[in-house]
Structures are given as structure tokens and as C-alpha cells.
């Protein structure tokens, strides 16, 4: 049993450590063009910066071993990379990952589970990322490309390097989205130091990853962005979609801030890069 005096000493130690940590956070060395304050004038934690996930969730949000490719054909002995991807060799292989899904299981309804299998088997034709389609939420946040958050007292805006996707986070809920969109409609509010964003009005065209994990247009995503120090955000997204899943499920991962002072988004307007893929067959001449 810990005596009350010891408890007080431990409490003081914990509080002191917390105060020191906060002090360290506020006194972080300058990055970017000016010293980066920990908070904006309105007291909110400063979300400005260029952020990126460091995981393999975009390959598969569940835990997964490495494998030879993203598309296979039945080989003479084991499945082998499909013809269109053979030439990539190790570059086309899938790295292993611990997974970001709480419970490591996506609670598909039976029909939806079948569709995920079909998506994965027909990956080359079906993955919207291949065609440079807007990635939707939450996939945009864990693509292998950074995104920039612009955060002022009036606005919170996400600008993604991939395909130049954007999300304006409405700080006043505009009501129901009049039509579906790829990136959905985001309405944000603060709960203490956590930014809570509710995303509705997404179409059914986006995936969660390259493993064919999918959803319907009924999906609602509730995101939580919680800072841990100036250079890390804990990102959680709860997925609700009664058309696809038997219950809500959650993903969770850290997001890392680029601390290099010369960090900036580089353009990745991949629409141009997929023209041969999509329109090559309409060319007058192949050469």
C-alpha cells in the first residue's frame, strides 16, 4: 500500500514532470520561417505544419505480412505477380505492417466481405488510387504523401500533396451536404485540445487502402486529432456505415510533422500521369 505522503510526493513529481514537459513544448526551437508557437491566440493547439503518416496503412489497414505484389495470377506452384506488375520487382512488393485497426478486424457484413475479396483480386482495375482519383477520408491522411494543415483563428484547411486534394473544415456546421463528393463534407469542433471532425456526404467510390477495403455512401467518419507535443498528432477515425459494417470500427495512428525548415508540399498532380493509362487507347497513333 502506498502511504498518503508517498502519494503526495508522486503527485508532485508527476505534476512537475508535466509542467517541465509543457515548458519544453512551448520553448521548442524555431522551425519554418518563424518560431512555431504551441498555441494560437485563441488558445487552440497549433495544427499548422506539414504532416505525414509513417506506416503501411495505405497497403492494408489491417496487420499484414509482406507479399510479392499487389496483383497476382495463379502460378504453377504459388500465386505469382500478375503480368502488368512483374517488371516492378521488389519495388512492386508490399511491405509488412502492424495494422491500424483497433481489434485488427473490419466488421464487414457478409456481402461486403465478399466484395472486399473481389476488390483485392481485381485490384488493378478497381483501386481508385491507381487512376489518381481523390482519395476520400480517412485514406487521404495516410497516403505516402504529406499534407499541409493551415490553421488560423478563422479556418482549418487541409491541402494534400496527392492529386491536390483539399478539405475545408467547416467550423460552423453547414447542414446536410446537398450532393455526395469524393472528399466529403467536414465539420469540425474542439473538445479541449482535440479537434473533432465529422465527415459526411462521401460517395461510395473511395477505398480505405490498396487491399480493397471499401464502404458505401452511407459512411460517416468521426476523426479526432490530438496533439502530443509540437511535432506529433494522434489521429483516430471512427467509421460508421450500416450499409457495409455490422458495427462502427476505429483506426488509430500517429501523424508526424516535417521539421525540416525547408519542408513544403511538392506538387503531385497525378491526373497527368494517368492519361496514358486512361486515354492511351484513344490516341491517333501509339508512337
Amino acid at each position: 500500500m502506498i502511504g498518503s505522503k508517498a502519494v503526495r510526493e508522486i503527485s508532485v513529481a508527476v505534476i512537475t514532470a508535466a509542467v517541465v514537459a509543457i515548458g519544453l513544448w512551448s520553448a521548442m526551437p524555431a522551425t519554418g520561417q518563424s518560431a512555431r508557437p504551441a498555441r494560437l491566440a485563441d488558445g487552440r493547439p497549433n495544427l499548422n505544419g506539414i504532416w505525414q503518416a509513417l506506416n503501411t496503412a495505405n497497403y492494408d489497414v489491417r496487420s499484414h505480412s509482406a507479399k510479392a505484389a499487389l496483383a497476382f495470377r495463379p502460378g504453377p506452384v504459388v500465386p505469382v505477380p500478375a503480368a502488368p506488375v512483374i517488371a516492378f520487382g521488389a519495388i512492386g512488393a508490399v511491405p509488412g505492417g502492424v495494422g491500424v485497426v483497433e481489434g485488427d478486424e473490419i466488421p464487414y457484413l457478409p456481402e461486403a466481405a465478399k466484395k472486399q475479396q473481389e476488390n483485392q483480386e481485381d485490384w488493378l482495375n478497381r483501386d481508385p488510387e491507381i487512376k489518381c482519383y481523390l482519395p476520400g477520408v480517412p485514406r487521404a491522411n495516410y497516403l505516402p504523401h504529406p499534407f499541409q494543415i493551415l490553421h488560423s483563428d478563422k479556418a482549418i484547411f487541409f491541402s494534400y500533396e496527392f492529386a491536390g486534394a483539399v478539405r475545408n473544415i467547416y467550423l460552423k456546421d453547414p447542414g446536410e451536404a446537398p450532393v455526395d463528393s469524393w472528399m466529403g463534407q467536414s465539420a469540425g469542433k474542439w473538445e479541449g485540445d482535440t479537434l473533432v471532425v465529422t465527415v459526411t456526404g462521401m460517395n461510395d467510390q473511395t477505398w480505405f487502402d490498396r487491399a480493397g477495403n471499401h464502404h458505401s455512401e452511407q459512411m460517416k467518419v468521426v476523426e479526432r486529432y490530438t496533439p502530443q507535443g509540437p511535432d506529433h498528432l494522434w489521429y483516430e477515425a471512427t467509421i460508421e456505415d450500416p450499409g457495409t459494417f455490422s458495427r462502427p470500427w476505429k483506426i488509430r495512428m500517429p501523424l508526424y510533422r516535417h521539421i525540416n525548415p525547408n519542408a513544403r508540399l511538392n506538387q503531385f498532380k497525378c491526373v497527368e500521369f494517368v492519361e496514358e493509362l486512361l486515354y492511351g487507347k484513344f490516341r491517333k497513333t501509339a508512337q
Partner: protein, 352 residues
Amino acid sequence: MAFTQRSGIKVLAGAVAAAGLASLALVTLQGQAPAGIAKPWTMPRTADGKPDLQGTWSNATITPLERPQGVSNLVLSEAEAAKMEKATADRVERLNQDSDPNRPAPPQGGDGSTGAAGNVGGYNNFWLDPGERVAVVDGQFRSSLIIDPPDGRLPATTPEARARTQARLKMMAGRGQYDHPEFRPLAERCLLSFGPTTPLIPNYFYNNNLQIVQTPDHVMILMEMVHDARIVRIGGTHVPKHIRPWMGDSIGHWEGDTLVVDTTNFPLQQPFRGSAENLHVIERFRRVDANTINYRFTVEDPTTFARPFTGEIPFRATDELIYEYACHEGNYALSNVLSGARNEEKRLGTKK
């Protein structure tokens, strides 16, 4: 140009800034004060003391970029401006009238429509939203967005620029504009909008909306089409010459209460009136009242234009929303254009 220099403004505390925000919102939503009851207006400022340019703005206007032939003055009278606006409103009213439900198919060989309508009649006018108002800058009704050269028209191009154009035309000899996707305009390919995003000239068709988000280090300008977010690095330096993003590379700084943005590094693939490699655009954003940013742009390229040109456009606050413009994802049009050319070649047996 009448605006007060405000140097040495104290940084506002959070609570005061919030109050300023609330009163700003009130003024914006209520619109203009009735004539004769002047509401004193103070520049809204961000926490770091800079003029607050944030919000959603429209740059739609019926004032054209270049002054029409036969109009010599930059400044129109109120009566002239009213006449222009009435003509626009009347035209919209006329085009919204009911059609004959027993109308036949349109004429074989085309309906004679010109311009964008392309002899096939385009589509209904209700899809368009080009603007209803003459541009007002510093209290003046403007006949053109271009204010310099004084005749309100684009300057002449240089012999060097004309030679470049000829060289390109020569290279296209024997090739058709529908042969490959790369020959189509960037807008048809959904790579960029069909008006320039730098400078922020309206397109005179629709979706002339932009959102500005401002932090001490960056100013983000989102054009509705094609969800293009231009991020200006305040106090930054330009990227290397070989890096040429579609909207160019923008850096900015404050001169008193004016945001000055400098953009270079434009892509070579779609020149702005023939200018690409050496295109240099300087933009100045100055908030002049609760509902207006005065936007002034200067375009210079001594290898293309005989002299720089400058224009002014009022950005008007709007409480309408910007919607997603996911262009590529729904781009049936590009495949229709290309497959149409191939289908037509086969049907008509044309070699070209």
C-alpha cells in the same frame, strides 16, 4: 489610393480578436449600410497584426478583362454601368423563359451558335453564373479589368514571342488537335481550370469563387476550380528553376497593409497569352472594407510582352459555399472528345 498605413499596431489579445471577429461577421452578413449612415469600419486583423484577408470571395464580374473596342475611358458613368447590368439581367430573364415542348430536334449541320457553344448550342443558360455586376474599384465603375496600358488592352507581343508561336505551329503541321490527350487544353484534361489561377482573373462562366486562409507563415488561396490550393510562403524564396508547378511558385510579403505575392516558375506547357518560361506575376491584395478586397495584378515577361500590364479586380465577400470540383473523376468529356475523333475518322474515312 486611399488607405491608412497602420504601423505599430499592438497584437490583439485573444478575447479582443474574437470580438473583432464577431463584429466583422455581423457587418459581412448585413451587407452594405444604407446611404448616409456611414458605419465606421476598422481593418480586421489577425493575431499577428496583419490585415485579415480570410473568407470566401467571388471575383465574378461582367466587366471584361480588356476594354471593348470603342470604349476609351476606364471609368464608366453610373448610368452606363446600370445599363450593362440591366442588359445582363434581361438576357438571363429571356433565356429562362419556357421552351416550346413541341420543339423539334435542332438543325442538321449545327444551330449556328458560336464561341464556346460550338455550333451545337452548348447547354442551357441556367448552368452558367458569370457574374451580374460591373467591377467597382475605389468607387469607380470600370470598363475593363486592365488599367495599364491606359487603353485597357493587352500590350503587343514581342517578335521573339511571335517566332515561338510560329515554331509551335510548324511542329503541329500534319497533326490534329484531337490526336492525343496532350494536345487538348489543360482545362479539358482537368489539370487546371479554364481561366488562369495566377493571376486570379474571373473566367466569365461559373464557379468564380475563392477561399483565403491566412497564417503568419502562409496564405492559402483556394480556387473552386479545379480545387486548386495555391499556398504562398510568406518570407520564402523561390524554388529552383527546373521545378515548375502548374500554378507557378508563389512567395509573399507584407508592405504595410498590402499583401504582395510574387509568382514565377510557371509550367512551359500552357503559356498565359504566349508567356511561360519567363512569366512573372505580382499580385497585391488590399482589404478596403468589410466586403471587399482590392486585387491588383501585374504581368511581366519582356520576352513575350512589349511592356508589363496591370489589372484590378474587386473580390466581393460571399457567404455562399465552395463545393468540391472533382474534375478528373467525372471527366467523360475528354474521352468523348478523343473517342469521337477516332470514331469520326473511321466513319468518314478521313486520314487526318
